[in-house]
């Protein structure tokens, strides 16, 4: 158990072969990964991918059907072993915050401090409210708070007993965009300063990338990839990850002796292991695609979407292939302009074409990480 009062209790979390089904629905399958002590880790995936179930399994709100979960040096689930949530010394912030509506802010924050003296509780509550910037609101009730304040109380409440692991279940999704940005930064700072191992569940890649040291991408209960944000973005392990994380075009090509040949050019491969003649798809990110205005150019601008700082162009190539390009919005090119495209890719990521179905959701693909 965590030493009470000592906030620097970084702990690693290990999941080994963890599966959980609800009736016939497979919520998570054979999850296998380790979160290092003090790491800020995100579990990213679309709704229904099993990310919340993963969090609940770690918290002890669900029991795995198979596999083991280790927090620090303690086996908390696996075989006949089971540690109930109140004995795991983890903290959790829910999407709806789940504040106790009949208790004041101070009572909420102090709820987990069982066995502390009244004086100690008061000091601890004051310390945490100061940490999250809510000094002076201790006598308020949850219904008298704004959404952002509720979120901060929830964070303070779960931090109060100095949990070994902090679990965040989409805690920013109910907030306005401005506030969300501010609270994300603040939350990460607080948790990193204390060195608390943190697991965030989210469906927004931007949020996962901005906050996390590493990200695990989940699809229909299966872990697709674990890596740092740049790894996930630039070297997606599966077609699903490539599609889900950021915008990408997929261009058919064939593996040749000098790389991959496609209608838009020939590119060196990122890795070995592809026999020549194999049909593949190339992933092209819009930020790798540039163009110059050229009245003789083979491509034309068929769509312009103004995004603020940048503009997303849709280019139509001869033969009808469409590729997207992301450029600064300082100067905007009008639709219909003829252009010449150049792709800036040292090497490209390819996926086998057989496995890639149109939605990017291969029915049976669940490749190892």
């Amino acid at each position: 158990m965590a030493a009470v009062g000592d906030d620097r209790t970084s702990t690693r979390v290990e999941l080994r072969g963890v599966s959980r089904s609800f009736g016939r629905v497979r919520a998570v399958f054979d999850l296998d990964f380790t979160i290092e002590a003090g790491e800020f880790f995100s579990i990213l995936g679309p709704s229904g991918c099993g990310k919340t179930t993963t969090l609940r399994l770690i918290a002890g709100l669900e029991r795995p059907d198979r596999g083991t979960i280790v927090i620090g040096d303690d086996l908390v689930a696996g075989g006949q072993c089971w540690v109930s949530p109140e004995r795991r010394a983890v903290g959790i912030v829910f999407q709806d915050y789940a504040l106790f509506p009949h208790l004041t802010v101070a009572q909420n924050v102090g709820f987990g401090l069982k066995g502390w003296s009244r004086q100690a509780i008061r000091l601890r509550v004051a310390e945490l409210l100061a940490l999250v910037g809510l000094e002076g609101l201790d006598a308020r009730y949850p219904h008298e708070l704004s959404g952002g304040q509720c979120q901060r109380v929830a964070l303070a409440r779960s931090l109060a007993p100095a949990p070994r692991v902090m679990l965040l279940d989409e805690p920013f999704s109910n907030l306005d965009a401005d506030l969300r940005e501010e609270l994300r930064t603040q939350t990460r700072r607080i948790l990193k300063e204390r060195g608390t191992t943190t697991i965030l569940v989210t469906h927004e890649q931007e949020e996962a990338f901005a906050l996390s040291d590493r990200v695990g991408v989940l699809d229909r209960g299966c872990l697709q990839q674990v890596g740092t944000p740049p790894e996930i973005y630039h070297r997606p392990a599966t077609r699903f990850v490539a599609d889900f994380v950021g915008k990408a075009d997929f261009v058919p090509g064939v593996v040749g002796s000098e790389g991959v040949a496609a209608a838009i050019g020939t590119f060196p491969l990122a890795g070995p292991g592809w026999e020549p003649g194999r049909p593949v798809e190339l992933m092209i990110r819009p930020d790798d695609v540039d163009f110059t205005v050229d009245s003789e150019g083979p491509a034309s601008i068929s769509g312009v979407r103004f995004l603020g700082a940048s503009v997303l162009y849709e280019l139509t190539l001869p033969g009808g292939l469409k590729i997207h390009s992301l450029k600064s919005s300082t100067r905007t090119v009008a639709p219909g302009t003829r252009v010449r495209m150049n792709i800036d890719a040292a090497h490209v990521i390819v996926f086998p074409r057989e496995c890639a179905d149109p939605q990017g959701k291969g029915a049976t693909c669940c490749p190892p990480v």
């Binding site: 089971w82 983890v90 829910f94």
Partner: protein, 544 residues
């Protein structure tokens, strides 16, 4: 720290099972009396009163069913779809007759309109001679009185049903050429038919359970027969067989109600989507609606209450010194009984609702549903069933004590508040259960989980999170049971200890002897207490 999981609390199934058995056993005892009839008794009943009682019961049910349907569904439509002077006040005032037990309304109407009553004497004095006047002591009188006190059930559910209809459906119908009246018959009424029908069935359940009002109006029904046979002949077997017939009717009503309500048990008035816009009426027609509503509220509540108040003033003015103590004793008896039953009912409801949450799962939910069927069973059936169940226990207890201790304790169970409380709780458990269940349902699951993760064990979660959060619902449920028990008559009349009077039994006895002024004060007290649920319902309907 590490323990083996998957443990479910032992009580999660066992306790709800026990409660369901306690509620259903008396009903089954009555049913078994019907299955094994005594030839002689049965023959005698058929030859004498039974055909009339059966016919009367059916006439009453048809009459009250139609009456409450027209009045309840119609008035609900008026206050939902039209704007007229006083509409918003009438919207809640039309619920007021709920506070009036049928037997109170019954005796007030009788006293007012009978041959010796003020209205007929007045008419005679003005027009001279004995002009024709409809006989109030008639089937029509009984049906009228019951319709006036029972229509709010239909009104309430119909109004909730109409409110759930969105404005766009009216607009769509308008564009298709439907006026408001055609819209009501072709769209609004059919849409809310399940809710309206459920309200009518509730009204019928009350009508078939009533024995006092029908007796005032000389219109013996089955429920009246049960009480009459028990009091007159002290024949438990015959009472049991009549009660069995009544139980069959009740069973039919329950099944009808359950199938009608289906999943949409309690309409949440759709706060977000805008409801139907109210049509603005002009000139005479808007005052006509005001007049209709005023007539109903007046006839079903204001005038009877004024009459009661008048009598009560007379009574207080002429009260002999010290006679007030009788009333005090009645009030204390009623308070004690109602409080006791409310406390027990809420405690059992908490066990039933908690059972499903603490791991009892579907089985516990099913048991809770069985345990809460009592609201549909007429009080007379419970009373007879409890007598059939507890009397043998009483006798056995006495035999054992006499043999081994040489003492005679008398009727410990049937002759005390135990039997009475048993009856009340069995009948009104549903009322407490629905409030408790709703209160617990409102506690978001994550709140419980957050408390668990913060280190609180199940008992601390119950004491510090669930109970404080559910307290308003529990108190509300207790208040509803309290009021129902205070108004209850059949169980009280049949199971009360000898010489133990409550406000309700006093009203009944005084009114049966045409001592109107003597009945007025306790009747007024019952009506005032009965306003409590009306206030709660109005606030719930207007609530966020």
């Amino acid at each position: 720290m590490v323990r083996r999981g998957g443990r479910r609390p032992v009580g999660a199934i066992a306790l709800p099972l026990l409660i369901a058995a306690m509620v259903l056993y008396p009903v089954l005892a009555v049913a078994s009396a019907l299955i094994t009839p005594t030839e002689a008794v049965w023959q005698h009943l058929w030859d004498t009163v039974l055909p009339l009682m059966l016919a009367n019961t059916l006439v009453l049910l048809v009459g009250v069913g139609l009456g409450t349907l027209v009045l309840g569904a119609g008035l609900a439509w008026l206050v939902t779809a039209y704007e007229f002077p006083g509409r918003s006040a009438f919207e809640w005032m039309l619920l007021l007759p709920m506070a009036m037990p049928a037997y109170v309304m019954g005796f007030v109407y009788m006293a007012t309109f009978d041959a010796a009553g003020p209205v007929q004497r007045w008419l005679a004095a003005w027009f001279g001679g004995a002009g024709w006047f409809p006989a109030i002591r008639s089937p029509g009188g009984a049906i009228l009185v019951m319709t006036l006190v029972l229509y709010p059930y239909v009104y309430m559910l119909a109004r909730a049903g109409y409110r759930a209809i969105s404005a766009s459906s009216l607009e769509a119908a308008r564009v298709l050429g439907y006026g408001p009246t055609r819209f009501f018959f072709r769209v609004a009424f059919p849409l809310s038919r399940p809710a309206v029908a459920a309200g009518v069935v509730l009204a019928l359940m009350e009508a078939m359970a009533d024995f006092a009002t029908v007796r005032f109006f000389n219109f013996p029904t089955l429920a009246d027969g049960v009480v009459r046979v028990w009091h007159g002949l002290m024949d438990l077997r015959a009472a049991g067989e009549l009660a069995g017939l009544l139980a069959i009717l009740a069973l039919a009503a329950i099944m009808l109600e359950r199938s009608l309500r289906g999943r949409s048990r309690y309409h949440e008035a759709g706060g977000r989507s805008p409801g139907l816009p109210r049509a603005q009426l002009t000139g005479g027609s808007k005052w006509a609606l005001t007049a209709v509503c005023a007539l109903v509220v007046g006839a079903a509540f204001l005038i009877p209450v004024a009459q009661l108040a008048g009598w009560a003033v007379l009574e207080v003015a002429h009260l002999p010194v010290g006679a007030g103590r009788v009333y005090l004793e009645l009030a204390v008896n009623s308070l004690v009984l109602s409080g006791l039953a409310a406390a027990v009912a809420v405690a059992l409801a908490l066990i039933l609702a908690g059972g499903a949450r603490l791991g009892g799962g579907k089985a516990a939910r099913g048991l809770a549903m069985l345990a809460t069927t009592g609201y549909a069973v007429p009080g007379a059936v419970f009373a007879v069933g409890i007598l059939l169940t507890l009397t043998p226990l009483d006798h056995a207890l006495n035999r054992v004590l006499e043999r081994w201790a040489g003492i005679t304790v008398g009727l410990v169970l049937t002759g005390s508040l135990i039997g009475l409380t048993y009856g009340y709780v069995a009948r009104f458990l549903a009322v407490a259960y629905h409030s408790t269940e709703a209160a617990l349902e409102k506690i978001r699951p994550n709140v419980t989980l957050a408390a668990r993760v913060l280190g609180a064990g199940p008992w601390r979660v119950l004491a510090q999170i669930h109970l404080p959060l559910a307290a308003p619902g529990l108190i509300g449920g207790a208040a509803l049971v309290f009021v129902d028990v205070m108004k209850e008559l059949p169980i009280t009349v049949m199971l009360r200890p000898f010489g133990y009077d409550t406000l309700a039994t006093w009203v009944w006895q005084m009114a049966a002897e045409s001592l109107w002024t003597g009945a007025a004060l306790p009747a007024l007290a019952i009506v005032v207490v009965g306003l409590l649920p009306v206030v709660l319902l109005t606030r719930a309907a207007a609530g966020r």
